[in-house]
């Protein structure tokens, strides 16, 4: 099949929204399909959002593709007789974040009208799709609530999961994730200061801004944790990630209200490490079940510290939860065969 993968992207920013496209392209090619990846440059700018959407809608793909799969908004508005949307999130500031401090525009008549127009355009575009998928239950629920449509949950796998290795359960809680305020690595450092065991913490990942990294370093210094926490603020190569997880005690991932369970959770599970997360992390509990294949606690440093200590003191528990996390991947059907067969159905 000739397949076009179309997504939007801010130039020169690499992240999960790109990986899902590039990885799917590789998996489709491996299965004998002809694939073209098209990233359209877009700006995260509320004022020009509708014009950008109209431009995407006016794009013409001729008869080059038997099927087109879209990902990040507003790519879902493109027109193709055989369009499949794998919808990974809304423009959230106009949806669920409207009534929060993340809303970047005033709540006035102009922007309320823009919001309504956007929602209507999104609904119409998603309705045009021959098949509609989301990357998590959280996003499927939002599509239902705001657009009145049913999206089938199709969990995105990681690339070449067989690369991950599982060794002994060491002394270090690992977090491989971009260092950003909403990923809340500061909560993990604060938790470390309240532990009673010598458990260690490793935070690795690149950051968009230096400020947050500096504040993490400052917090570690202030809490006198510099010998127990490693802050590796840079792009982490895949093999480094595999090595860090191989001997970790567990993985920690405590973002604020993420759309999906997140690649860090899945990568840890492939390495047979459980994930420690928090109850307000959004989609993470879709994967992590407390006491079954991971730990879910209140978003408080004390509660996280207690979880760190519990796993440090009981390596058998870390191993048991890690093995169950690995089983969870299969139970949720997070694999490329499932993804490809659903997207091409």
């Amino acid at each position: 099949m000739r397949i076009g993968l179309v997504s939007s992207a801010v130039p020169l920013i690499r992240g999960g929204g790109r990986f899902i496209v590039d990885w799917l392209a590789a998996e489709l090619r491996r299965r004998g399909h002809e694939v073209e990846v098209i990233f359209i440059p877009t700006a995260d700018d509320p004022e020009t959002l509708l014009v950008q959407m109209a431009a995407l809608q006016a794009m013409e793909f001729g008869d080059a593709f038997d099927r087109v799969i879209t990902f990040r908004p507003p790519a879902h508005v493109i027109r193709h007789p055989n369009k499949v949307c794998w919808f990974i999130h809304h423009v959230r500031v106009f949806y669920d974040l409207w009534d929060t401090r993340y809303r970047p525009v005033p709540d006035n008549a102009h922007f309320r009208a823009l919001r309504a127009t956007l929602m209507e355009a999104d609904t119409a575009a998603l309705k045009e799709a021959r098949l509609l998928f989301s990357n998590s239950q959280v996003v499927a629920d939002r599509v239902d609530r705001y657009n009145g449509l049913k999206a089938e949950v199709l969990y995105p796998p990681v690339f070449e999961p067989e690369r991950f290795r599982s060794g002994g359960y060491g002394e270090e809680i690992v977090s491989v994730c971009r260092l950003e305020h909403h990923k809340r690595q500061h909560l993990l450092i604060e938790a470390l200061s309240m532990t009673r065991t010598p458990v260690r913490l490793r935070l690795c990942g690149a950051s968009f801004g230096d400020d947050y990294v500096a504040s993490l370093q400052e917090t570690a210094r202030r809490l006198d944790l510099e010998d127990r926490v490693v802050i590796d603020a840079r792009w982490i190569e895949e093999e480094e990630k595999v090595a860090a997880l191989e001997t970790a005690l567990a993985s920690a991932y405590a973002p604020l209200d993420e759309d999906s369970y997140g690649y860090p959770t899945l990568e840890a599970a492939h390495a047979r490490r459980c994930t420690i997360t928090v109850s307000d992390s959004g989609g993470v509990p879709e994967f992590v079940q407390d006491g079954v294949n991971g730990v879910v606690v209140a978003p408080e440093p004390e509660a996280l510290a207690e979880a760190f200590d519990r796993l440090y003191a009981d390596r058998a528990l870390a191993a048991r939860l890690g093995a169950a996390a690995h089983d969870r991947i299969g139970a949720l059907g997070v694999d490329w065969d499932t993804v490809v067969s659903r997207l091409l159905a």
Binding site: R2, G4, A9, V10, P11, L12, I13, E34, E36, I38, F39, I40, P41, T42, A43, D44, D45, T48, V51, Q52, A54, A55, A58, M59, E60, F61, G62, A64, F65
Partner: protein
């Protein structure tokens, strides 16, 4: 510094323009800047569609890039405050192909309006750019003639100069490139008659399947078949480089070529002089008689004399060295090209 390379694409087509785009990005990264390419889809039928395409390009918003390098219509219409155009393709059906009667734009009042919209949008894009470069002398002439714009040519450099290291002279003259009438390999075979003892190696993809037989028959007729080696197929880059590196000199005699030609640049990079002819067009920009090679009349006799002259190793070596230096001096290298595009 962050650089976005913008161009257009036709799905599943991968040709010279796509190769150039990819090498441009690779060389930008090698230069130490953060770079990537994005290619927007482009369709042009029916002609009315061209207006939508231009509107789409004008409506795209680019952020997080300090500079945009745009290569083709209509991608170079995308607005950006710091945009450099390296014009590989205008929409030729609104320009020279229109004049030649080979356009999909109808010759009607409406067609003329569409054409006016295209040339007008181009003019505006050129005016708002920080700099405009033409990808070839032909593009340069087109911009001059139709858009009244005087811009420098920035030719596409050799993509893999590291392969062309030079090497021992094995005593043959090498004729690379596509094999067919426009490249006049038959004339090379005839020239051998007038160059006793000189060996010629012709290697490259044939334009038609009969090409090899014709050349072989001609060589046999002229009694030079023992001195001609034919390898008519698509050679891998390392295979090609080996043939260039071990030659004593190169020969390249296309008729009225647009550009200096990759064949010429490959030979020069390897420190080999090139024999060309007085009617070879763009090749003459860098092949200078008795400086970086020899320029002969397009006759078997004159070419035969040139073959004999460049079969003398000392002579070939000294012209070859000058040829290699000229590539550097003319900035026909990726580092120099990147520096121009970022200046």
């Amino acid at each position: 510094m962050k650089v976005l390379v913008l161009t257009t694409r036709v799905p599943f087509i991968h040709g010279g323009a796509e190769e150039l785009r990819d090498h441009l990005v690779a060389n930008l990264i090698r230069h130490g800047v953060d770079a990537e390419a994005m290619s927007i889809p482009f369709t042009w039928n029916p002609a009315e569609r061209l207006l939508d395409e231009m509107w789409v390009a004008r409506s795209i918003h680019v952020t997080n890039a300090d500079r945009v390098i745009a290569l083709k219509f209509p991608a170079y219409l995308v607005p950006h405050h710091n945009k450099v155009l390296w014009v590989l393709h205008q929409y030729r059906q609104a320009y020279d192909l229109w004049d030649a009667g080979q356009s999909n734009i109808p010759d009607t009042p409406r067609g003329l309006e569409i054409r006016q919209m295209i040339t007008g949008a181009d003019d505006r894009a050129f005016a708002e750019a920080q700099a405009v470069y033409a990808g070839s002398p032909v593009s340069q002439q087109r911009l001059r003639r139709y858009n009244g714009l005087e811009v420098p040519v920035l030719p596409a450099p050799l993509n893999d100069p590291e392969l062309f290291t030079g090497g021992p002279m094995d005593g043959y003259i090498f004729a690379g490139g596509r094999v067919g009438n426009a490249k006049r390999q038959k004339l090379l075979v005839r020239a051998l008659q007038h160059a006793p003892g000189v060996r010629l190696v012709i290697a490259g993809p044939p334009e038609s399947p009969g090409e090899a037989d014709e050349l072989r028959r001609l060589a046999a007729e002229l009694g030079v078949e023992s001195r001609v080696t034919l390898d008519l197929r698509f050679l891998t880059r390392p295979e090609l480089a080996t043939l260039v590196n071990n030659a004593t000199a190169g020969v390249y005699i296309p008729f009225d070529e647009d550009s200096v030609g990759y064949v010429t640049m490959e030979a020069f990079q390897a420190g080999k002089p090139v024999i060309t002819t007085t009617d070879s067009g763009g090749v003459l920009e860098i092949v200078k008689h008795e400086e970086t090679g020899l320029v002969a009349e397009p006759t078997p006799e004159a070419l035969g004399a040139a073959f004999r002259a460049l079969s003398i190793p000392a002579k070939a070596a000294s012209l070859g060295k000058a040829a290699q230096q000229l590539l550097e001096a003319r900035e026909l290298t990726w580092p120099a090209t990147i520096a121009r595009l970022l200046s």
